[in-house]
Symmetry: C2
Subunit: 345 residues, 2 copies
Amino acid sequence: MTDAVVAEEKLGSLATRALVSGGMLEEDARSVAQVLVLADLFGLRTHGVSRVMQYLDRVKVGGIDARAVVATNRVAPGLSLVDGANGMGPLVGMRALEAAMASAREVGIGAAFARASNHFGPIMPYALIAAEEGFASIIGTNATTTIAPWGGMDTRLGNNPLGIGVPAPGSDPILLDLAMSVAARAKIRRALKQGASIPEGWATDPKGQPTTDPTAALAGFLLPFGGHKGYGLALLVDLLSGVLSGASYLTRVKAWDKQPEAHQDLGHFFILIDTKRLAAPDELARRMADFKDIIRSTPAADPERPVRLPGDTEFDLLRRQRAEGVAVAAEDLEALEVLAEQSQS
Amino acid sequence: MTDAVVAEEKLGSLATRALVSGGMLEEDARSVAQVLVLADLFGLRTHGVSRVMQYLDRVKVGGIDARAVVATNRVAPGLSLVDGANGMGPLVGMRALEAAMASAREVGIGAAFARASNHFGPIMPYALIAAEEGFASIIGTNATTTIAPWGGMDTRLGNNPLGIGVPAPGSDPILLDLAMSVAARAKIRRALKQGASIPEGWATDPKGQPTTDPTAALAGFLLPFGGHKGYGLALLVDLLSGVLSGASYLTRVKAWDKQPEAHQDLGHFFILIDTKRLAAPDELARRMADFKDIIRSTPAADPERPVRLPGDTEFDLLRRQRAEGVAVAAEDLEALEVLAEQSQS
């Protein structure tokens, strides 16, 4: 695959227009594009604008409703239930994030639990948007089942990423975005596309035997990181995002790749904490700088590879790509351009 | 070590009186005993009543204030800052839990961030108390540094456990209590006491080399579970519990074993969600039962070892020990009895 480099603003505009050509309202399309472009800026390309085409393919077969009206029900001053109405995942995600931030502004902490949603992109864009307004965040989602319960022989759990973020006023926040498998399924799909094998320990075949063959791995299941600990974490993230939200959970979640026309009914949760109520921004900035210094000054096992913080790699890339342009697959850029053209005709 | 078996109520009364003999007010002592006895009921014996003697040793040298008055400052309807005033950790923990529950009752979600605290026991007791009142919980604490940052050669992070719990009305909640190291430091201390070696992969010696010698491991550092993922999680738990609370963090936390007389200034966080605002208890009960069924009915890799849920082992033991008595080390029981006698004289 050849890469193309495109300015952030242009990529956002192309993605927005492509989504409008697929039936979305412009305001909604802008929210979706914001999440996906931030994903590409962070280098999380399997969850970036390449998803626009996939989302729109599902719109065509009735799997996603491009014109869904997301409904937010504030059930308590600090708590909202969000009905995604089978809309685009990042649209549901952004509306839930906004609801949780509104609560946190009012009562210091706020949460939104969303159901009837779809793939909402990676967590880091939401955590960044929250951190830029002074909110610490705990965010999670469930997903199509790809992981077997610990000691089990069937995929009954999603990769269910969990994100935790804490702002550092005037500097980069520290953002962790943790998928529960050793490696993401998207990486295995990429290996398959490139004709490469995968490392041992990533996945098993359908009979639960270790494999390095991406085809067998995609038919089998992913291994959770840290064994039973990663299993436990994936399970609890599903309880928070799937069960508490009123969404589907575990095997009740529909697989978008096997049934693109079905409503996935994914669930997400967003918990936001207004750090300004806990300490003055100057004081938090001072403590965060001290925290970062203590970690970064740890003697490195390999002097060539200094100790880093979660998110460091992504923020370096974000800064560089904001200055020099965003790398995306040339074929994705072309596809976006073709779709964007249609929105203007 | 010989075990003794004692009724739950009697153990609670002994622990309470022992703590009173060490200078605590009876009401405060009862809160601490409640947490530690629940720990023993769950079989988490390294964090149970055996800690009473250790806590009281620190009181004697000025490391913990038995008469501390914990102060709760509700900075927003959903948010409290708790000053532990260097009191017993489980006392600070219980007061913070109560503050967060009070907020969650009012606005649907509540959090408390505690500083100036000490070792607060395991997380499961707090999560159980919360779940019994219908609250889902996310709870964490920082700790004496035992883990090196990923790629680093010095212990700068604590084992920083994270707990997530979701109630199942009328049935056992699902509770996850996750330490960030592959194995707990207390397990290594136990191996040392028993003259046993430890498995590979648990820890390294002070030079960062793998070791199976518990003495070398206690002088070296623990390995995080799941490599850089466990490292990231330990780090974010410290940001939430240490940095946001105004407590110490990373290497600024004092080591209770090396400096028993110093104020540790640990931090904890408690986030509670009132599940009754999200769904009727009947509906949550139905969904939780379905969730448990889907997991438990997964075909097992080893037919002798069915797939289990996080907390299953602990709840089995809790039920048995509530009926048949709680197992504790005979020497700990004796020590408690001696101390309890003193409180009556």
